[in-house]
């Protein structure tokens, strides 16, 4: 337990040092507030704007990010299974999956607004498009991880495709799948925020950021960024905790001991 306490200490000390340098440099070099406000100014602004920040957080994170993340990861996973299930689809669908991989967010954001309207569903759709591919790639890679002898065992049981999938290949793929879940936890947030630059009701983290940049309230922009960083890190942290619990058996988690 003191281990974890110490473990938390390092990033906190590191972070405080970073903030201190930031404060000193911005004040010392007289950096214009419209370029980079000092942490103290950002903090003051953050405290002032709590209701706004909460409203934005709810709009962007609780709606767009979570819904899009769940659907995008789910879709990537399902397509990976489909592709795995059928060699035909593997040859036909996988290249198309690659095609979807980098549909640039700024290209699809306006289109999604066209299709799904201004409110959060269009943002969630952008998040779906962004999170789909990492999940597809990692699940496909993960599904090939079970070793030959582990598969042979299933073959001797004449296990059905689904039994092999659930009892062998998915557990073996879990480290890869969690990689995707972790990468996507931050991608989803970026996606939702960027998508709000392309038309939105007047609430949301991305809306606030773009609008307040235009108004040169850069301190509020950074307050919003701080909220995004905390929310994103917490999201990532939760996924990482679940990962430790689920893939406890993987050498990377149990510390490589034999």
């Amino acid at each position: 337990m003191p281990e974890t306490g110490f473990g938390l200490l390092i990033p906190i000390v590191f972070g405080l040092a970073l903030l201190f340098v930031w404060e000193v440099v911005t004040r010392g070099a007289n950096v214009p507030q419209v370029l980079l406000p000092a942490p103290s100014q950002i903090w003051a602004r953050l405290i002032d704007s709590v209701p706004t920040l909460i409203a934005d957080f709810q709009q962007t994170f609780m709606k767009s990010v979570l819904a899009g993340y769940a659907m995008g990861c789910g879709a990537g996973f399902v397509v990976a299974i489909l592709v795995d299930r059928s060699p035909f689809l593997k040859r036909g669908l996988l290249p198309i999956g690659n095609f979807v991989s980098a549909l640039p967010i700024i290209g699809i954001a306006p289109i999604m607004v066209m299709w799904f309207g201004f409110d959060w569903p269009s943002k969630a759709a952008v998040v779906v498009a962004m999170t789909f591919f990492p999940m597809l790639v990692n699940t496909v890679a993960g599904l090939s991880q079970a070793s030959e002898i582990e598969r042979d065992l299933m073959r001797t049981y004449a296990a059905s495709y689904w039994q092999t999938l659930f009892k062998l290949r998915l557990p073996a793929a879990a480290p890869f799948i969690f990689n995707a879940l972790k990468i996507n936890s931050t991608l989803a947030l970026i996606g939702a925020i960027v998508a709000e630059f392309f038309g939105t009701p007047i609430v949301g983290m991305g809306f606030r950021i773009s609008t307040e940049v235009g108004r040169l309230n850069i301190d509020l922009v950074w307050a919003e960024i701080a909220v995004a960083a905390v929310a994103g890190s917490a999201f990532y942290g939760v996924i990482a905790l679940i990962e430790r619990a689920v893939t406890f058996w993987h050498p990377s988690v149990r510390g490589g001991r034999a």
């Binding site: 065992l153 001797t156 049981y157 557990p171």
Partner: protein, 261 residues
């Protein structure tokens, strides 16, 4: 002996293509195994014992000749879950406890939870692993892992058992114990058993038929039908019949080797 034939190989051959030339793992193997037989396979390392078992199990495809299991193709037999297989390596799933590893085939074959726990308890007792139910594979010693994998293959009742050096990592005492347990099980259930071993006494003690193989290319060089009675106390190993068979096996084995000490 007009027992039905369980395994029948005719001119069976299997060649592995590899980056630097083909490896002939099996060549011209002819063998019939009747129901209820206990057949041991013995031969130098790399002579194709594992490959032959894997071919029976439909894990490798013969490149020539024919192989039938209960008159069916190996694939059909596998679909019928005709056999239980103990691999040469334990192949336990690291995310499952030992009990859960043994439960695996039972889950797949749809046994009820009550049946599962009854069988897990019984087979873990049999291989003397009681008390290790909740451990994970990496927390077990090599021999314990091997015993867990034996328990897993015994947990469901296949009529044909394919066992690839199941007792290789076990000491004499445990081995004797498991040998006699296996014989009891075999006598009770009339299973057909294909058993790979490196121990000549073990092969002679257990088997009704001993298949001696030789490598490069892997082929059968001797098939010995044991004259020993079905009932086999441990001290049968000192009888002249026993020693005679052991001698014949050893000679066959030596012939297959290239050492000339």
């Amino acid at each position: 002996m007009n027992k039905p034939i369980v395994v029948s190989a005719k001119n069976l051959g299997l060649t592995f293509p590899t980056g630097d030339g083909d490896v002939i793992a099996l060549s011209d193997v002819n063998l019939d195994i009747a129901k209820g037989e206990f057949v041991s396979f013995i031969g130098p390392s790399g002579c194709g014992k594992t490959t032959f078992l894997r071919t029976i199990a439909d894990l490798e495809q013969p490149t020539s000749g024919t192989l039938t299991i209960n008159g069916l193709t190996p694939a059909e037999a596998r679909q019928n879950r005709a056999y239980g297989y103990v691999f040469q390596a334990p192949a336990l799933y690291p995310w499952r406890t030992i009990a859960k590893n043994i439960a695996l085939p039972l889950e797949i074959m749809g046994h009820s939870a009550a049946q599962q726990s009854e069988r897990i308890a019984r087979t873990m007792e049999l291989v003397n692993l009681a008390g290790f139910e909740q451990k994970y594979p990496w927390q077990l010693s090599g021999g314990m892992q091997q015993r867990a994998s034996i328990a897993r293959a015994l947990a469901f009742d296949a009529d044909l058992l394919l066992m690839d050096e199941p007792f290789g990592a076990l000491d004499e005492i445990v081995r004797d114990h498991l040998n006699s347990e296996l014989l009891k099980l075999w006598a009770r259930t009339q299973k057909t058993i294909c058993f790979v071993t490196h121990s000549i006494p073990e092969a002679v003690y257990l088997s009704t038929k001993i298949v001696v193989m030789s490598p490069r290319p892997g082929r059968v060089i001797d098939v010995i039908d044991s004259p020993l009675p079905h009932e086999r106390p441990l001290d049968i190993r000192e009888t002249p019949e026993f020693l005679a068979i052991a001698h014949r096996v050893r000679e066959g084995l030596r012939a297959g080797h290239s050492y000339e000490e």
